[in-house]
């Protein structure tokens, strides 16, 4: 009996291999690389459902840190990027890897920490607050700690920018003492770690609100231009990577910036958290530092 | 023309000289007893004849053609005219029928029906009728020995090489195998029967060759030979 079972298993295996060949003949698929912070909010799952249905295609979302997402774009492994790191986005466009930078949504990073605010940073702006955390952390690492994403993500990039603004060389910061902890993980895992250690950390608002129920950390600083977080979509340039599905990519981006898309984004989270996790980019272009071209509807870049 | 002619055959493994200066002939249809104590080189000699190993010195001629030192293809066609039964025969992990018909299948000559018939005959001749579908590895030592004999016999080889076929058997099984070997004596198959049992030799063999420490010390009719030990 076991023998027949095994024969069956082998036949199954053979069929599997043959079937997988059939996958080549698929419906249209659009590959989107995004960051874990965006993916973890669940927004893209919702967008995928709507987009798949409307256009009868399949949106394949791959997530990782901003670093690897940009890599995927530069290698032509995906058709669209959805990220939130202005510096790297501009470079991506400048290197002609992407067609154009389109602003989709925004919210603010939060500097969260333990309720009792051991470093006493309430009321300060982000950069001064970080400087104070470092000062107190160096003095008493048992009481004041900071957990960093440490993974080259958009959030991490923002953290490094704030350190720069505060006047510090990042390499001096992250090696200065046990008060600074590099998680090397996604936003959710980083928040959990900060929670465990009752430490400060920078989080995007969406992930924080999604995890808030399980955390005792609270937002201590939640505004200011230092913490502005703008989400952007970029189609990968077909001139550099002729295989990308540029047409569908533009349709996707147009969907995101359309009224329907923007409404979807702006209302996401209300049901679950009481307030939306994102603000739509449309209508707030100047506020978030996007040029008119980056907000134009529909997207003007052509694939030819 | 002798079926098998061996001249000045020697085999060494490194410094150990297992066989030296063997001169021997075997005629068609005759049973040659190869007698010698354990370790005298009987198995080595049989393996050389079966072309499993290559001699260190000397020549082997089969049907008047040189076989030692030839390319594998020629050896294969010569080997297919012989069959060897090892001292502790190994059964393939298959049924008795598959074991017995192995050689036939390898030669690819007979069709399925003919193989089935010949296998049946061989098993009957060996006193194991109806054993076809049994698992070869569940048999007793004596039964396995007979299957191995059947496996060789079914090929109707010109030369049959038997390495101590009854050495590991109880007297009862040994006696019945002797009976089978007697039947072989009547056929036109030549046999080299390696054994350390002189009675067996006297009963079955036409001629006897005595091997001692790798050297042939005597060859002649079995009545004439007296063992040096």
């Amino acid at each position: 009996m076991a023998r027949n079972f095994l024969k069956m298993a082998l036949v199954l295996m053979a069929l599997s291999v043959l079937c997988s060949a059939a996958w080549a003949v698929d419906g249209e698929r659009l590959k989107v690389a995004t960051t874990t912070s965006l993916q973890d909010t669940g927004l893209l799952d919702l967008i995928k459902d709507k987009f798949d249905e409307k256009y009868n295609v399949s949106l394949d979302v791959v997530s990782g840190g901003t670093g690897i997402a940009i890599q995927y774009g530069e290698r032509g492994d995906v058709d669209v990027l959805m990220v939130h790191d202005k510096e790297r986005e501009l470079k991506f466009i400048k290197d002609e890897q992407g067609l154009e930078r389109r602003c989709i949504a925004y919210n603010y990073f939060l500097l969260v920490g333990p309720k009792d605010d051991p470093a006493g940073i309430k009321g300060m702006n982000a950069s001064s607050a970080m400087a104070r955390i470092m000062e107190k952390g160096l003095a008493d690492p048992a009481k004041v700690m900071f957990v960093s994403r440490g993974d080259n993500s958009g959030t991490h990039a923002r953290e490094k920018l704030i350190w720069k603004k505060a006047g510090y060389n990042y390499s001096a910061v992250n090696t200065s003492g046990p008060w600074y902890i590099e998680a090397g993980q996604g936003m959710g895992a980083t928040l959990n770690m900060a929670n465990e250690k009752q430490a400060y950390t920078i989080s995007d608002m969406s992930t924080f609100m999604a995890y808030q129920g399980n955390l005792t950390l609270v937002p201590i600083i939640d505004g200011g231009s230092d913490l502005l977080n703008v989400y952007v979509a970029m189609a990968v340039n077909p001139k550099k990577h002729p295989n990308v599905n540029c047409k569908l990519a533009n349709e996707f981006i147009n969907y995101l910036v359309s009224d329907e898309g923007q409404d979807l984004i702006a209302s996401y989270g209300t049901e679950k958290f009481g307030t939306p996790l994102f603000s739509a980019a449309s209508g707030s272009c100047e506020l978030i530092g996007c040029s008119a071209a980056e907000c134009a509807v529909p997207t003007s870049a052509s694939c030819w | 023309m002798a079926l098998l002619e061996i001249s000045s055959l020697g085999k060494s493994y490194g410094k150990a000289e297992i066989l030296k200066g063997i001169d021997l002939t075997v005629e068609r249809g005759e049973i040659l007893g190869l007698i010698g104590p354990t370790g005298s080189g009987k198995t080595t000699l049989l393996r050389l004849v079966n072309l499993l190993d290559e001699p260190s010195t000397g020549r082997i001629l089969f049907e008047d053609r040189e076989v030692s030192g030839r390319p594998e293809r020629e050896k294969l066609s010569m080997r297919r005219k012989m069959a060897m039964v090892f001292q502790k025969p190994v059964m393939f992990k298959a049924s008795v029928e598959e074991n017995v018909s192995f050689g036939l299948r390898m030669r690819g000559k007979a069709d399925a029906e003919e193989m089935r018939v010949r296998t049946k005959e061989a098993l009957a001749a060996m006193g194991l009728p109806g054993y076809e579908s049994r698992d070869a590895n569940t048999l007793s030592g004596g039964e396995m020995q007979r299957i191995a004999l059947a496996r060789a016999w079914v090929l109707q080889p010109e030369l049959l090489l038997l390495d101590e076929p009854t050495a590991n058997l109880d007297p009862g099984s040994a006696a019945s195998i002797d009976g089978l070997l007697q039947k072989l004596a009547d056929s036109r198959t030549a046999v080299i029967l390696a054994t350390h049992n002189m009675q067996q030799c006297r009963k079955l063999a036409d001629r006897v060759a005595v091997l001692q420490a790798g050297r042939l010390v005597a060859v002649g009719k079995s009545e004439e030979i007296a063992l040096p030990w």
């Binding site: 997988s20 996958w23 492994d77 959710g188 | 499993l52 992990k93």
Partner: protein, 225 residues
């Protein structure tokens, strides 16, 4: 435990993930087997310079870190890589390809061990009964079939439980390339520990079932001989 409830409720996403995981790992084991078993046979039966060294190398690769293999395969099949034109990245086919590479060392190595374990009396018997070299090889493979099948099942088990290749090559795309291991990683990182546990239990159960099957098969063979 909530984990068991989740399994019992047969949530369609969980079912989909499980079936996909089995499908992909089974395919990769088969693909690897088709190539590696003959390859193992050739390596075992031929004599060549450096044979021992090659076998040592293969055995060293048994425990290659899956993330490293994942990275190497990624570089291979990425659009910018040498096999980019095949469009394998972020697809189940790519995962099958990557996992097949991952389990190949085990399959080749265990096949070699299995064949070596057959022993010269079998080869001599086959040879003396008139088998050609190729026929001897096939006979030995048949004699070792239990161990060879065990190697394939072991490959399946390793492919099923690995996450490095599945994550890097598949991308953990919902509804397309998400499998048990990558789903566990995701759910854990999102804090959904009960769901992670449930998926983990399913994974263990499958491995258990495969092992039981294997043991039964092996046991019967051993008892016979």
């Amino acid at each position: 435990m909530r984990a068991l409830d989740l399994i019992a409720s047969r949530d369609p996403q969980v079912v989909e993930i499980t079936l996909r995981a089995i499908f992909i790992s089974l395919s990769s084991a088969f693909l690897a087997g088709v190539i590696c078993i003959p390859l193992g046979g050739i390596i075992e039966f031929r004599r060549f310079w450096g044979k021992r060294a090659l076998i040592n190398l293969i055995q060293t690769f048994y425990s290659l870190p899956t993330v490293t293999v994942g990275l190497l395969v990624f570089l291979l099949i990425s659009r910018s890589g040498p096999l980019g034109g095949l469009n394998l990245l972020f697809s189940p086919s790519g995962m099958i390809f990557g996992q097949a590479i991952l389990v190949s060392p085990i399959m080749i190595g265990l096949t070699i061990t299995a064949l070596a374990g057959v022993g010269s009396p079998v080869r001599d018997t086959a040879k003396s009964l008139g088998a050609t070299e190729m026929q001897i090889i096939i006979t030995v493979i048949k004699e070792a079939r239990v161990a060879v099948i065990a190697a394939v099942l072991l490959g399946f088990g390793r492919a099923l439980s690995e996450v490095g290749v599945a994550m890097m090559i598949g991308g953990n795309i919902r509804g397309y390339t998400r499998v048990l291991t990558t789903a566990i990683a995701l759910e854990t990182s999102m804090g959904n520990l009960e769901l992670s546990m449930a998926l983990g239990i399913i994974l263990i159960c499958i491995s258990l079932a495969v092992n039981l099957l294997l043991n039964r098969f092996q046991g019967r063979q051993e008892w016979r001989s």
